[in-house]
Amino acid sequence: MLASVATFAIEGVESIEVTVEVDIRRGLPAFTIVGLPDAAVREARERVRSALLNSGLDFPQKRLTANLAPADLRKSGPSFDLALAVALLGASGQVACDDLDSYAVCGELSLGGGLRPVAGAIALALGAREAGYRRLIVPMENVAEAALVDGVEVLGVPRLGLIAGLLRGTWRPDRTRPGEKRPPAAAHAPDMVDVRGQADAKRALEIAAAGGHHLLMVGQPGVGKTMLARRLPGILPPPRFEEALEVTRIHSVAGTGGGGLVAERPFRAPHHTISASGLVGGGPTPRAGEITLAHRGVLFLDELGEFSRGALEALRQPLESGVVQVSRGQRSLTFPAAAMLVAACNRCPCARDPRACDCTEIDRVRYARRLSAPLLDRIDLVCEVGPAPPPRPVASAPAVEERSQAIAARVAEARERQARRLAASGGSCNAAMSGPEARRHAALDRLGSISLVSGHERRPLTGRGQDAVLRVARTVADLDGRVGVEAGDVEQALSFRIDPAWTVAA
């Protein structure tokens, strides 16, 4: 007899439907699994057999063949165990086959018949919903995450033995509640108030946050660039539910999730020895890269000059399009990668105080080339971070540093204004505006346009440079709550741009 059950497998950060068919024939006892299974999937035979027997169910001593379709997709991991067991139950008549149609089933089995959790529960639930399955059966530990997805009923089963009852209708699991939001860990979230001074750098972060602009911080080691970068997620508006779901799904698949809804924006800071595929994703079983793990959050690259050329070049596509395309044989996977980039580097290769520096032009030019001109081209803001001011004497009045909350409030308002303005064209933030959009939305008053156009003849701005300046100017005006962009906004934006000599190959 033949029975089939639907299950889902993770590909990239999404799930893809796999149909598990089991056929039972008379003949010498055998259990074969086909459909390009990997070692873990082949070992499912042992797990399924023991789990069924230890659950008081029957394991037919016949010729069993299982197929995991589509047959040309490689199958890996233990998440097919439960589906195999259920299909077997169906094929052997222990449960009715037509009951199986509306269910999708995922889970790993232990020899004793218990169920073990699988990775990527949200992705599985989303896949099940898309494919039209009304009910998803998963191990108990995966319920919280999977239940975040509406439109599909999530049923948590602790033991294989109860499956039969569930499918026959004689047993119901407890009502499941969607996973609680992970509390934002307010106590130790980094706050801008911790940073003394650095008013200019804090402002640069505020502008970056408000408009979604990428930022480069320049300064000697130890001045606090990392400390500042870590506080950027704290001034970004909290993610919308859909965004939080995306982030949760990505981290659930990667195994870095906590089992509930991720409500904070991620902060990723890979070491500069990372490879290109570590940074943007890929590899034999395509895994998410750091930029995907930073999706909707911040990707911090410290010591930008120390990253390999390959890694930096690989970032160009996702920084421009917000996604990473990975080819895998004939298929191509898309990983989301809409992250804000914050990079840090030194003023020059010797990394010493400018007065003690004796780098020649050639040293600086070589250093500039390591920073990857096309990458710098996509960074709208640069600021210098100098040494921290000396601690104030205890007796004097304490310096009043702003809390992240106050900054975040301004950022949120600026984002609101942008969202309303850009709603028609479908954009979400100033940094993503195209050239024509930038020119339209940052329509300068008469004074402003004269300023820009006559950008000094020694280093005239290229068209691209002008558009970048307009985008930043638009954000500056938004932060100030103004509808029109003024000359002063443009002048500020000019001071923020990276010297074009560094972005054009020398």
Binding site: G197, Q198, A199, D200, A201, R203, L216, V218, C345, R347, C348, P354, R355, A356, D358, C359, T360, E361, I362, R364, V365, A368, V382, C383, E384, V385, G386, P389, S451, S454, G455, H456, E457, R458, R459, V476, G488, V490, E491, Q492, A493, L494, S495, F496, I498, D499, A501, W502
Partner: protein
């Protein structure tokens, strides 16, 4: 373009001998100034080499193909003038060891003009500050515009900046190399080298294809000092090759000028020392022209040196400009003036649009020379 070879056979042979012996000369001289060696007569020079070197030298001299050498020069478009000919710059004759032959890559008429008109030599460190670069460039530009030949060595840093300024200001640009005129050294400046060869002239005492040696740099410096009516050191640390050029200029009784640098900066210690020891203070092209022609006697590069092209500035802009001149960043300027960073940045943008400051490095600014 074919080269114009105007040289007697003896000089041509001697010059090629030096070129051929270049590596051995290195062994003899180390880093000291090659005084004396290049002044030796041919036979004495050969003896000084001693041993196998002498043998090789004699063989070279015996088999030197004069016609072949001339053909090669003409074919390569390289001009050559020896000491005894009319086209040889008289200023070089003041050296006690002038080059036997001066080779050049240039348009022939252009070369004659460049060597005839008044000249100023501009040298300095290869790792200059943004200020030094600005001043060197400004000097090059304004002097070339005033009809003065700007002489320098194509080195990184000050030399290159002076050359670039001169190319911007006119055609009065002349580079003296420490290697054959067909070898752009350093490689990084080959683009500049080509422009100078086309607009001005590239000269050397070494025949084509001879690579630079340690000794050929100080040797080249004596030629630069001799060609210029004044030698200006824009910025130099202690020690520095450009200071050697200044010493040669003194030996020739030429005026030496220097640009004041920050007293706390090591890279200006040498040029500042020259000033202490009596060098002419050079604030801009006008000071150079005053030395060359006499005070106020030239149809000059306009007006007083750049210092206050920023004549009547809004006080806030002036404060920020002063901050930039002092090398401060946005944070420091904000702290010193009490302005908010946003206002400091707006002022920086405005000053940049006015041409008073320019970007230097990834994120910093420097004052420009107007």
């Amino acid at each position: 373009m074919t080269g114009d070879v105007d040289s007697c056979a003896a000089c041509l042979r001697r010059s090629h001998l030096i070129g051929r012996l270049a590596p051995r000369i290195a062994g003899l001289l180390g880093r000291r100034r090659p005084v004396g060696l290049l002044a030796l007569k041919e036979e004495e020079l050969v003896r000084a080499l001693g041993g196998r070197g002498a043998g090789a030298a004699r063989r070279f001299l015996a088999s030197f193909d004069d016609a072949g050498a001339r053909r090669a020069l003409r074919g390569a478009g390289v001009h050559a003038t020896c000491i005894h000919r009319g086209g040889y710059p008289p200023t070089l004759l003041e050296l006690h060891d002038p080059p036997a032959v001066l080779y050049a890559r240039s348009d022939a008429r252009r070369l004659a003009t460049l060597l005839r008109q008044p000249a100023a030599t501009i040298v300095g460190t290869r790792a200059p500050s943004a200020h030094g670069l600005e001043v060197a460039r400004g000097l090059g530009r304004d002097l070339a515009a005033a009809g003065v030949t700007v002489v320098s060595g194509l080195a990184l840093g000050i030399d290159a900046a002076a050359h670039r300024g001169a190319v911007d200001g006119g055609d009065g640009v002349l580079a003296v190399l420490a290697c054959g005129v067909d070898v752009p050294y350093p490689q990084a400046n080959r683009g500049l080298y080509e422009r100078i060869a086309q607009r001005g002239a590239v000269v050397s005492e070494l025949p084509p294809r001879v690579p630079p040696m340690r000794w050929s740099f100080p040797a080249r410096n004596r030629i630069m000092a001799a060609l210029g009516g004044i030698t200006v050191v824009v910025e130099a640390a202690e020690p520095s090759g450009s200071l050697i050029t200044a010493v040669h200029a003194e030996d020739l009784n030429r005026p030496v000028g220097a640009v004041p640098g920050q007293v706390t900066a090591a890279r200006a210690a040498g040029s500042n020392r020259l000033l202490r020891d009596g060098a002419v203070v050079i604030r801009g092209a006008v000071d150079v022209l005053d030395e060359l022609f006499g005070v106020g006697r030239h149809a000059g590069a306009g007006g007083a040196p750049a210092a206050d092209g920023a004549g009547s500035l809004d006080p806030r802009l002036r404060e920020v400009l002063d901050g930039v001149e002092g090398g401060a960043g946005v944070e420091a300027i904000a702290g010193a003036t009490g302005l908010a960073p946003a206002d400091v940045r707006a002022s920086l943008g405005r000053l940049e649009l006015m041409g008073l400051i320019a970007r230097a490095g990834l994120a910093s600014y420097t004052r420009t020379v107007a």
